[in-house]
């Protein structure tokens, strides 16, 4: 509504977008606009967004959407404003291809969101724990240990053989997902709604490799993002962890006492992306143009650079990524690792992967399989076939 003569522009986000100062700046340049931000918990935010879209009202003028939900939401592009109509097409060239296409409708016409950040993949590791197992700890040397996943798992077996009482990685799902994120085609046949989760050999390869690693005792058997995973991070019971850009923040804030013990190496098997968000404008918004102004302001390269410096959210703008401020950024918590460079390269070089509308549900079904192997010692083949069944049911 409008009150006090000012247009109230609402924006719903989750987690830490770090926009507060930017809102004030925007308001300064738009004296008749008042921005109201609502921050919710990640799942609550997305559930509410879906509820509000389903009900036809209640959504904010600008809604943040995470990578885990974007595929599903872009499947109903009619629920969102086509940002291309408002001039977003100009921005296409500034985004890595995968980022731009991830929020583009299946027919390629409707762009439902502008990217805010990306989650380029790397591998974080505990220098002290690798050293304890007689392995190198320098990032370059460590990266050299695992150019491929096979090499990574082999290193893991060497690590395990040293019996340091520490596992090689935290959770099977993180390793599995990282491999999936690197594929050019995963659960859906590109450009279609055909689910190929059961027939895509690359999926099976990733699944089996992860299963083998688990049975080789490389996994700490944690469930990612559970409380215990956090505890384990503090206690140092695993040596490496799949590390999208935003994971730095997780580690730093959840386990501040481990400062200086971490470093960052490249991810095995080439680059990949996990996470990152978009700002979208629901079709039900009453202030579409104004909302777009805000979205383009917030996602502009210079703002992305600024947010990166303030919060560590890695920019999704090529301009911003190439900015020297980003490129030269180092993270003292991670032993001054050149994080700007590591994540930037990973992001720019990434090939887009097509995701169908039930991608999230399929991913969860596959994760269930990995976890069954990890938690319940289920046989890999059985876990895979059950997961594929579940995935296909979810996608029906």
């Amino acid at each position: 509504g409008d009150d006090g003569g000012k247009t109230k522009l609402t924006i719903n986000t989750f987690g830490v977008f770090g926009y507060t100062d930017l809102y004030r700046e925007f308001e300064a340049s738009h004296p008749d606009v008042e921005i109201v931000e609502t921050v919710s918990e990640y799942n609550d935010h997305h559930n509410n967004l879906v509820n509000h879209l389903a009900a036809g009202s209640g959504a904010a003028d600008v809604e943040a959407v995470d990578e885990g939900f974007i595929a599903q939401l872009k499947a109903t592009p009619e629920q969102f404003v086509n940002l291309n109509d408002l001039g977003a097409s100009d921005r296409e060239s500034d985004y890595p291809a995968f980022k731009w296409s991830a929020s583009l409708s299946a027919d390629g016409r409707t762009q439902i969101g502008l990217g805010t950040d990306v989650g380029g993949l790397a591998m974080c590791y505990r220098t002290d724990l690798l050293e304890a197992a007689g392995l190198p700890s320098d990032p370059a040397a460590v990266s050299a240990l695992w150019p491929t996943w096979d090499a990574y798992f082999k290193t893991g077996r060497d690590f395990a053989a040293k019996n340091t009482g520490v596992k090689f990685f935290d959770a099977g799902t993180n390793i599995y997902n990282a491999q999936i994120f690197q594929l050019d085609e995963s659960y859906y046949a590109t450009g279609t709604s055909d689910v190929i989760v059961g027939s895509n050999p690359k999926v099976k390869t990733a699944f089996d490799a992860t299963a083998k690693a688990i049975s080789d005792g490389l996994s700490a058997g944690l469930v990612a993002f559970e409380d215990e995973w956090v505890t384990a991070m503090k206690e140092g019971t695993f040596a490496t962890i799949t590390c999208p850009a935003w994971m730095q923040g997780y580690i730093k804030e959840n386990a501040p006492e481990t400062a200086g013990k971490w470093n960052i190496a490249e991810i095995p098997g080439g680059s990949g992306n996990w996470g990152g968000s978009w700002l979208t404008i629901p079709a039900q918004s009453d202030h579409k143009d104004l909302a777009y102004e805000l979205v383009s302001f917030l996602t502009a390269p210079e703002q992305q650079t600024r947010i990166f410096k303030e919060t560590g959210n890695f920019p999704s703008s090529v301009t911003s990524i190439k900015d020297s401020a980003v490129q030269s950024f180092t993270n003292p918590f991670f032993d001054d690792a050149p994080t700007g460079k590591i994540f930037g390269e990973s992001a720019i070089s990434l090939e887009p992967q097509y995701q169908g509308s039930k991608h999230g549900a399929i991913r969860q079904a596959m994760e269930h399989g990995i976890q069954r192997i990890e938690q319940e010692n289920q046989a890999a083949d059985k876990a895979f076939s059950e997961s594929v069944d579940e995935a296909e049911r979810a996608a029906r």
Binding site: N43, A54, L73, V223, F225, E228, H368, R372, E386
Partner: protein, 335 residues
């Protein structure tokens, strides 16, 4: 879980008779004066708020849901709903996830209701003795009912942690292996059942305690003089006298457990998961409903699940009603 109401279905018939007493059939002319009419409508005014609010905010959504359950509808595409008749229902009956959820729901119902009521009985039996600080104990056992869900979630996730949970830690200190509560088919149910039991035992105990205090003291004394120990008294005196109350609490607990949602949702603390475990080992009907509707956006299918739940609950309640009424007739009155 809904809260227990101390209403006993078997009473309804008797009360109906008692109420009918006020106006036995009359052979005289109908009253037509305005005053009488005014008076006759008063009861309807008194119950109107409930029915107005229920119609607006309960019945409308319910009927809407009933309609939705006959369509194939994606949550986000309200315009693209297809009428498919009973299609969702027939799909449901061939859906192994549905049957898995049915099995889990009833298993959890049994695992939580039976011990919960049994513990409540024992607790009430103990509370029914001459005690110091009686009110304090009684208030203490009711605390779980007023504890915030957030606190419950956090505490229980710390208790039932896979590796670093309190129980696993305790097991570890005595040299036993930790238990991966969430993963196991049974351990997960035990954990969830214990959350339910924790939450409702005290409340039921107080209800039983109330009923126990209505048992004449002389019955216990007579039994004591006849040579019955206290446990025999519990068996021969307390239990029979509490039968209607037990039947009632069992019914309420069963209705609550059919709709069991919060505990399994919270127990699955890997963020965002609503599938009730990796193998759906603790996915209840309500959780399946939630997953189908809000995660997979199969609004029609979810609505069908909701209606099946509703009908099952009604059937169970009706069954319980007739069973208790039947037994009460056999034993000559339920009180």
């Amino acid at each position: 879980m809904t809260i227990a109401t101390p209403a006993h279905p078997a009473e309804t018939a008797a009360e109906t008779a008692a109420a009918a007493r006020e106006t036995p059939r009359r052979r005289r002319k109908p009253h037509t004066t305005f005053r009488r009419i005014g008076r006759a409508t008063v009861p309807y005014w008194l119950i109107a708020p409930f029915f107005v609010i229920f119609t607006a905010f309960g019945l409308f959504p319910m009927l809407y849901t009933a309609w939705i359950s006959l369509t194939d509808r994606d949550m986000l595409r309200p315009g693209a709903a297809k009428f498919i008749g009973l299609g969702n229902y027939t799909d449901l009956f061939s859906d192994e996830f549905f049957w898995n959820a049915v099995g889990n729901t009833f298993l959890l119902m049994a695992m939580s209701s039976v011990p919960q009521l049994a513990f409540a009985l024992i607790l009430a039996h103990i509370l029914n003795t001459r005690l110091r600080a009686r009110t304090l104990f009684r208030m203490g056992v009711l605390l779980p009912n007023i504890t915030s869900i957030v606190a419950v979630t956090i505490v229980f996730s710390q208790i039932f942690g896979r590796q670093f949970g309190l129980i696993s830690w305790l097991l570890d200190t005595v040299g036993l292996d930790p238990i991966n509560w969430q993963a196991g088919e049974w351990t997960s149910k035990i954990a969830i059942a214990s959350m339910v039991i924790w939450r409702w035992t005290g409340y039921n105990a107080l209800i039983y305690l109330g009923a126990m205090q209505a048992i004449p003291k002389e019955h216990f004394e007579a039994a004591a003089m006849d040579g019955a120990s206290t446990w025999r008294q519990l068996w021969h005196i307390t239990l029979p006298a509490l039968r209607p109350t037990i039947a009632f609490t069992a019914l309420i607990s069963v209705i609550g457990q059919i709709q069991l949602f919060t505990e399994p949702l919270l127990f699955d603390n890997s963020p965002g998961s609503v599938s009730g475990g990796n193998s759906h080992q603790f996915q209840t009907l309500a959780l399946l409903l939630y997953e189908e509707s809000f995660r997979l956006h199969n609004f029609g299918y979810g609505s069908a699940i909701a209606w099946v739940m509703f009908l099952v609950t009604m059937a169970l309640a009706a069954g319980a009603y007739f069973v208790t009424r039947g037994t009460s007739r056999l034993t000559g009155g339920s009180r």
